[in-house]
Amino acid sequence: MLELIDVKKTFNVGTINEKKALDGVSIKLDEGDFVTIIGGNGAGKSTTLNAIAGVWPIDSGAIIINGQNVAGLPEHKRAKFIGRVFQDPMTGTAATMEIQENLALAKRRGNPRGLRWGITRAEREEYHELLKTLDLGLEDRMTSKVGLLSGGQRQALTLLMATLKKPDILLLDEHTAALDPKTAAKVLELSDKIIEENRLTAMMVTHNMSAAIKHGNRLIMMNSGRIIYDVKGEEKKNLTVDMLLEKFEQASGSALSNDRMLLSKHDNI
């Protein structure tokens, strides 16, 4: 499904800001794996997702999706395989376009685009039914501009767009971090539901340790551009937040340095 082999990336090479962001990341995901990723500040969590998505080229290593090495493909070509939801609710949608137009853009992810209509009547009906499943009343506002929606609504819509055409891999980059706790819980629940129903392979970066334990079947912890802990199955289910903190200190030799993660230590969402 997805395999990363010794992926390395250094930013700002040769300058005072040089930063080794990924220092040999290797991981193999099985079909249907839902991996949560946690780690300190600058550990390489989001960088790993961006490397997979092709936001910039990696320095070395391989990124294999469905048996094909995609490391040489630019971002828009890799989009064929990948659905993405971002941290900032503004990033995932086009604000000046209608809700239905955004969905129509997502529907054509990975397909060649030509001079056919950008949205068809049959699609409108399909989207109407699909939006109903969100239970946010968006099905009655299909011609509204996305810019009028709240952050939570936009994230829910982005989630729908990312999975409208079944992706080989779904990347969720702290996609609930900018939402209030109640909305965040709702969007997380929706993510779970969509991933389960479509049997998607997914990776989710989160700063919330309880969420990382509660969701998915596998958990990885990163530090200084490396994966320092990888756990799945029963062992993962039995994890607690305190055990994670302990693991982190053992593996990295220092205390966890992610303020938001520490603050959310006892959140139960």
Binding site: A53, P74, E75, H76, K77, A79, K80, I82, R84, F86, M90, T91, G92, T93, A94, A95, T96, M97, E101, A104, L105, A106, R108, R109, G110, N111, R113, G114, L115, R116, W117, G118, I119, M161
Partner: protein, 322 residues
């Protein structure tokens, strides 16, 4: 009385001129509003379109074919700006300026001098201000304006179709959110180039019409064109959203851009009638654009500003002290 007659006589001319510049302004709308790219190529590409059309017609090429060539020449200019921006990483505004300056030489070369005139008496031109000006009666006025109207309407219909297609969607998405566009598999560099090509194609076409209408192509005919284009876009937007409100849709936006250009030329005419010499045309254009851009900002800051906050909080403070 005399002034009024002059004004009324100039009216049809202003409208046809406004409609021709309106085509150019619609081109500017595509880059400035849809793609969110401040493209200054247009000052050059309108002249290129005019030069190509005039030189071809003088050499016996049919008018329609010369107009197609003017469109193509504009497209080529847009392509160069697009490639400078996407392939070579030159910032959009600078890429446009570079092409515009280069086109000045190109336009001189095409014209073989700084200007070339073309007479409506010798060539079957599609549009001509002579037919408007010469005492052909009001019917003649009407037909010249009517032809311009038909051309603009056809172009708006074509653009309405294009921006409803998958390609059109990619351009709109790229202008709105390029990160999202790439995540949805859109090649944002390609859509940027396509939009610039289309926009400058329209500008080149407008140049082809304008050169026929005024009876000559001049190497300076595009100087300040971007400002007229922006004026039309902005006047059209302010007017359209005031009149139509929420029903200000895509077709209306393009139509009001053309209306904006007409209003611009009518207002320009009024200003000229006050006796201001035509040397001040460009100064006037700049002032119009500055005013229309500033008005929304000033209106907003009249409603809420630090000054107001200071006054109202001072009042609150007094009542507490009392």
């Amino acid at each position: 009385m005399n002034v009024l007659t002059t004004f009324l006589n100039a009216f049809p001319g202003n409208i046809s001129q406004g409609l021709i510049w309106g085509i150019m302004a619609i081109g500017v709308y595509i880059t400035y509003k849809i793609l969110d790219f401040p493209d200054l190529t247009v000052d050059g590409s309108i002249g290129t379109g005019g030069a190509v059309a005039v030189v071809l017609i003088l050499n016996g090429v049919p008018v329609w074919l010369a107009l197609v060539a003017a469109f193509a020449a504009g497209c080529l200019a847009g392509l160069i700006t697009g490639l400078l921006n996407t392939l070579l990483g030159i910032p959009g505004i600078l890429a446009g300026i570079l092409t515009q300056i280069a086109l000045y030489s190109v336009n001189l070369a095409i014209l073989g001098g700084s200007n070339k005139s073309i007479s409506v008496d010798k060539f079957p031109l599609l549009l001509s201000s002579r037919r408007v000006a010469v005492s052909g009666g009001f019917a003649m006025f009407g037909w010249e304006v009517g032809k311009c109207l038909i051309i603009v309407a056809l172009l708006i219909a074509a653009l309405y179709w294009f921006f409803g297609t998958e390609y059109g969607f990619t351009i709109r998405a790229t202008g709105c959110n390029s990160n999202m566009s790439r995540a949805q598999g859109i090649n944002t560099k390609k859509s940027t180039v396509i939009a610039l090509v289309l926009s400058n194609g329209l500008v080149g076409l407008a140049g082809g019409f304008l050169a026929q209408y005024q009876g000559f192509a001049d190497v300076n005919m595009g100087r300040g064109a971007i400002v007229i284009g922006l004026a039309a876009v902005i006047i059209g937007e302010v007017l359209g959203s005031a009149i139509l409100g929420k029903r200000f849709n895509f077709v209306a936006r393009l139509s009001f851009t053309a209306v904006g250009a007409i209003i611009y030329f009518i207002v320009l005419q009024i200003v000229m009638l006050t006796g201001l010499p035509s040397t001040y045309n460009k100064l006037f254009s700049a002032v119009v654009v500055a005013v229309f851009l500033a008005v929304p900002y000033i209106r907003k800051s009249l409603k809420t500003s630090y000054g107001r906050a200071a006054k109202s909080s001072a009042k609150k403070g007094e009542s507490r002290n009392a």
